[in-house]
Symmetry: C3
Amino acid sequence: MRYPLIVLILALTALAGGFAFVEWSKGGSGAGLYSRHWSPEAVQGYWDPATFYQSPDSVQGVFKGEECVQCHEAVTPGIVADWRNSRHAKAGERVWCSGCHGDDHQRLHLPTPAVCGGCHGKQHGEFKAEADFGFPSHVLAMDRALSAPHFVDKPKAEVQSCVQCHSVATKCDSCHTRHRFDAAEARRPEACITCHSGPPHPDDETYFASAHGRLYRAEGDQWDWSKPLVKGNYKVPTCAYCHMEGGRHQVANKSLWKFGLLEVNPHTAANKALRRDWVGLCGDCHEAEKARQWLSDLDRERKQAWKMLNEAEAILKGLRTEDLLFPAPEERPAYPLEQRPRAHIGFYEGQASAFYNVSAVERDYFEMWYFDSLGAYKAAAHGDWARISKGHKGMAASLEKIRQQAGSLRDLKIVEQKAGIEASTEGLWQRGAYTDYNRDQN
Amino acid sequence: MRYPLIVLILALTALAGGFAFVEWSKGGSGAGLYSRHWSPEAVQGYWDPATFYQSPDSVQGVFKGEECVQCHEAVTPGIVADWRNSRHAKAGERVWCSGCHGDDHQRLHLPTPAVCGGCHGKQHGEFKAEADFGFPSHVLAMDRALSAPHFVDKPKAEVQSCVQCHSVATKCDSCHTRHRFDAAEARRPEACITCHSGPPHPDDETYFASAHGRLYRAEGDQWDWSKPLVKGNYKVPTCAYCHMEGGRHQVANKSLWKFGLLEVNPHTAANKALRRDWVGLCGDCHEAEKARQWLSDLDRERKQAWKMLNEAEAILKGLRTEDLLFPAPEERPAYPLEQRPRAHIGFYEGQASAFYNVSAVERDYFEMWYFDSLGAYKAAAHGDWARISKGHKGMAASLEKIRQQAGSLRDLKIVEQKAGIEASTEGLWQRGAYTDYNRDQN
Amino acid sequence: MRYPLIVLILALTALAGGFAFVEWSKGGSGAGLYSRHWSPEAVQGYWDPATFYQSPDSVQGVFKGEECVQCHEAVTPGIVADWRNSRHAKAGERVWCSGCHGDDHQRLHLPTPAVCGGCHGKQHGEFKAEADFGFPSHVLAMDRALSAPHFVDKPKAEVQSCVQCHSVATKCDSCHTRHRFDAAEARRPEACITCHSGPPHPDDETYFASAHGRLYRAEGDQWDWSKPLVKGNYKVPTCAYCHMEGGRHQVANKSLWKFGLLEVNPHTAANKALRRDWVGLCGDCHEAEKARQWLSDLDRERKQAWKMLNEAEAILKGLRTEDLLFPAPEERPAYPLEQRPRAHIGFYEGQASAFYNVSAVERDYFEMWYFDSLGAYKAAAHGDWARISKGHKGMAASLEKIRQQAGSLRDLKIVEQKAGIEASTEGLWQRGAYTDYNRDQN
């Protein structure tokens, strides 16, 4: 009896999924899985030009590069000046506007990574190769955002704040600002920290609080940023020096601890090889022995962090088994295309679900994991000792709070059963009011 | 019967108001409406020199400029060096110390905007013209602070922190530091962010988190800041580039959304004209169509924000009508010169009153409005997408909390009426203890 | 009967203390009083090299300076380049690697302040002289950390975050980064703010929010930092300009308010002399009269702060006398080497004890004192008016909360006595769970 039901459900799911793929439309809701439920702000045309950019139709005609420059010298002199200072303008064979934008003014396009890759094949190839390493990743960043069902439930302004940075996958000027497209710019930390700052990834804050970052702040303006990122050229390393060694446009292969998101076994052969690479890199300035100790310090920090996180997760799984999470999974609003809501716990079971429509104790766990643990990891990796302290103190407090809540929930259950009372489900995240509000507004 | 009572009240008010205007005294409490109740710290002599500066009497004599410089070269060489580097010293006809400070060392004065305006008439005229546009305003900033009755109830140190920035109305070196008085300095964001930072006006934070700000941070030190703020001279705009277009010393006329303080109808003819100006300005570097979309994004952000704010305000007005605010207006300490306390709600009904001596639910609304909404506005205006998210998440949570509190207050009233209980008024802000403490200390 | 007991206790204490001094061991737990209970991470070898540094044994041989340089030019070119740019390399008689590190590659050492003091005797002498002024102090910073019993109860990552900065006592490159060892670097605020930032000592934040700091941010990169810190050389002062006048390596003697930690009588002859020194220093740029007023403003700020702190402390002492603190002292975990736990209140009675294992009302007082008061002090001293406001608002709220809690505790006691109920001791800090957890992990 049960088997045909499952078949029916699967068939209906497929059908619903099929309808969800709406017609592709420039400037509309796009072609993603959830495009029926959500469409982005107009600025998405800048962030994901291949899908959303619409050319202005105010000027018509087909123009040669010299003509573009002549007119834009008056209209937008700043970008022309940037271009004149770029290698595009100084190269033996100039790269004119039309090379990247096309020459028909009513059918202009903004260049995608593939357009840039036409000349910069090595960099584009490295960039695409990041996909081999799974999440987190630059090249997969936009896909990751667009296929996340919980984005449909968040206010549009909040999703836009995610997508702005995830646009690093769909255009190159996140790091090489138009129309100078400078390698020197991208070697400096400012190119990275527009996105890599704030919780849950305080790379900005932790780097600038480190001894490296302090020296960069005080003296970096005097350094020659046209030099490649190799041994001896810079007094202290920047983001790119360590993470994009020698200028390689692929960051994922060096990740020891996967952004702090995953518990990693530091004793595998692959991980040991990675460690040797890092020790070699630190060795550009420091004793190998010291570098090894720093990596051990980092491992110990992670070990202590995961011990606390795993203990918290075990408590929550126990509560789920005992049916003590309020609201229970079946009381939560389901995501679009989902048949029924589920009580995910932790990252691999579904990070997204932990944001909204969960019980207070799950939310505490989520914040412990997302803010305190990730913050401490970034601090340990970059040498910001004060923020390690902040993160671990936060995790310890959360773990204790989760323990106490678990005890209270068990006690309450006993009392309620004796008294024959039904627990009520209240609060912003739990009842789905926030979700309803946003679905209504977006 | 009622009419004579009103006349009596008005007469008493006028009398009280009259007494409140105390004698003008340099270095004392000033001449403001509340000067009987409050006098500033000595540093006010720097911030509002026309009213409070007292000349030192340690040196006597009348001096010529060359004599001032000769002596101060030894006594305070830094400010002499700054002056030597200024246009005042390099101009054909030098502007000597006495030109601004007078020449009698026992009757020196610090220059007010009017003194500077003696030569810089165009700038001073533009600056004064801001008054035509109402609050918020630079030129009215000191008046605004001094005539706010709630300042009397705050700790002196807190009021000083307001007044330091509001001194932009009463001296010119808030932006053009003495004794260099450089236009180049004022073109850079640092000239603005001494004041324009932190809640409730995170202009600093939102600009530096934007793509514009990041480029300024990385490369701004290499730019030539002696150039005027016009198209083509700067790679990215700074505060002054957009808000003081071409160097105009009047900021108020370009305000689309009035600092985020007011709900504005974007469809009026005047507002549409403003939008055309902004699109023109963005057009120095960007496509007009993109600029229009950004302004629409901003409007949508505000529309969503005001929808939430108005909903919260409506809930509070309902509670006031039903007499459910604790403490009730008549239980709150009145301001000096006020006959009786009033339960203001929202900005136009009286922003000040929402700070202190209000019920918890009013305080939640105030913080939603003052911190979350204004923060989101600044973020949307400057392109800091992450802070838009933070603000809207905060507003959503506050609105839900206000809704729940309103429900609880109504339930409580029913229970109390049945039981014949009087509600008690407790807590720091509610009972006026904070107000009493401060009035005692100030 | 009581006297022999005290003798016995003292004898046992001495015995326990004696055992606690374990054998000295490089890279182990060190030689401190609590070394049996706690050992540092490996990075301590960098921070306190005299005690913890272990030379790498991968390379053997005894080398001359030219040989070191020849090899390290290839191995670590960055540090060789820094050295070549340093006075060590440019001096008539070069200071080679071996001068500071020794020449036996298996017995290398990292230089301690005493090693640097071999040549820089004046600076080292000034540095050591700080000890005459008591805490807070740079030269005593490491001792202070290592002899604090509460460090044993904190997570290792948190203690490391303290010790990193306290290593200023045990090496010179906290301010003069190896291998350039530049005086110019140490004249800039970045040299100080690696440590002097964040609560409870927001020197970084308050300086950069001041008029001085803003000008440094905008223009400091253009100044000539090779100039000594004397009158007329710099447009605005930096940390070192005021606190290390003329380059003196001793900061403690100018302290007016002892970091904000102590209540100071500003009317003693010694304090008045200090004030004259400060007025003289401010006089490099400002009128003496203004400088005197600023110091008075600071005194008034402190007076108001201490009034609130003392009121809070008096309430807590009352609660202690009435045995109303939960957990009571005897229920708290004792520190190692301590015979019994004690309920310290306030700074002089034992700052450390206020962190953990205290009642909620004591914790509130601690945060009022440690974060709000110290933050307001730094703000007042550096001219960051907004942060003065933040601190005083926080203190007022805490004081009110402490008052209310004291009332509730007294009421509760009466109710409990009538009902014959024992109070239960719950919560993270109170029951010692955090302490137990950390002792287990460290």
